[in-house]
Symmetry: D2
Subunit: 152 residues, 4 copies
């Protein structure tokens, strides 16, 4: 169960710049204040500060917001391993919410379990700045070869 995650060789030496540029085109990430704080082959991390405008009815961070940053962290983890000329889409994800998201900062980490020519499978975790595990995700993505990753 506890074998370390595999190490991956990116096909695109400029994967970090490409992933960062794609993230910066995600207006939705900017709108909620999310930051892409780590980009490695097969892994990324996104941070999000607690903000009143992101809460649900009881004052905790909204589960949908937690899903958003986990979805993006996992998706960009997969995108690090894709060719420079590709784009990608999320096929599906499943998230379990384990504890209320209490704290000042949320850390969403995504990692690739299986990269693929067509489909990639990733796993994500969201933790508070106290290390409490808030959510776990399992996600499927599809690579779009020779497709611009920007508006037409």
């Amino acid at each position: 169960m506890n074998a370390p995650a595999p190490r991956f060789q990116p096909q695109d030496p400029d994967f970090a710049a490409r992933v960062r540029a794609s993230f910066e085109r995600q207006a939705a990430m900017r709108h909620i204040g999310a930051r892409l704080t780590r980009i490695e082959p097969g892994r990324t991390e996104i941070e999000l500060d607690y903000r009143d405008e992101l809460t649900q009815q009881k004052g905790y961070m909204h589960g949908g917001i937690i899903g958003m940053i986990a979805d993006s962290a996992c998706g960009y983890a997969a995108y690090t391993l894709m060719p420079a000329t590709s784009s990608l889409v999320t096929v599906e994800y499943k998230i379990n919410l384990l504890a209320p998201a209490v704290g000042n900062v949320l850390h969403a980490g995504g990692e690739v379990l299986k990269p693929g020519r067509s489909l990639s499978i990733t796993r994500g975790e969201v933790r508070t700045d106290q290390g409490v595990l808030v959510a776990i995700m399992q996600q499927t993505l599809m690579m779009l070869p020779d497709t611009p990753d920007a508006p037409d």
Copy 2:
């Protein structure tokens, strides 16, 4: 497969006002501009106008945003059937993204498949204003009896 969804009797005659008040406490729904447009026993609908600030890197509505409104529509569908003194939490959800969210308005509908004293199971669909099916969701919620549905 195609039996109509069951009809439910709400325990709380004021379920619609209670659900609406809870939705209005969700700052995150306000932050993205979502509107609760339908509240029936076991069903709700949320609408969201296309806004540039909610897009992913290619200019479509972000999959995480779609997940947010589906999650809330399903959750409030379940909440219509819960007692007046209860609150609820999302245990987990799974979403498939079927098509790019192109159009001016997204419609997220949630419906209860099985209400429960503890767990409720819901199903959701998100469509564009052209009727294109954009996403489907399956979700599990837990009722919190005798718990305020507002910040402590």
Copy 3:
């Protein structure tokens, strides 16, 4: 929410015979006693009689067995719409178990929500012979073009 499922035109006029032949190659379906009882474009149904050897620790039908027939019903629903020369694999599925599987016969129905050149998305339901909804599934499949659907 309740629009009828779309009607599909199969590409392969002999889809029913092809699906039936594939099902009959599934030794696992035979091992548990499952029968493929309905094959239509975009839909199939599988029936399974209650058998002591399929139970979990309390004497109900095992949740994994319920998952098996729902997985196959959904997969074959997708396979009805694929070309004659294709095979398919299940990418992932998610199942909610809603009620104990009590009764003499389980009916698993699968239907296609979105067929695709590469990925197909399906939804399934399992009911008892009393009509009780026992489980719901959401599933993703991938078509393998020009691939034999039999052992090499």
Copy 4:
């Protein structure tokens, strides 16, 4: 992401015997030939030999069979941490199938991520005897307090 799984203290000192007895009441596990090979607080492992009668149409182990052993491994991982007088039910699970299950033996490992008084969240992995990751699972279970874990 890679923090070691937490260590748990079982409430029931006889958890291993209790879990084993429950597994042995699962006729479905016996019917497919699954063996419970490891029982630790918060973890279990199930092994399953390749058998022709468990295959899908191409001669690989059926995805539903893989789901069955992962479901049971995860469920019994949670059951190790529950009180002696409890039973449990699977609420839902989601499985991604990553590679064909080729080989002589499948190893399904389940581990608890969050035990709970009501709900427990687990994660599972299935590997071949060559170490190839075949499937990953995320699962939710509900404890039934003061409930016999055997037929009435």
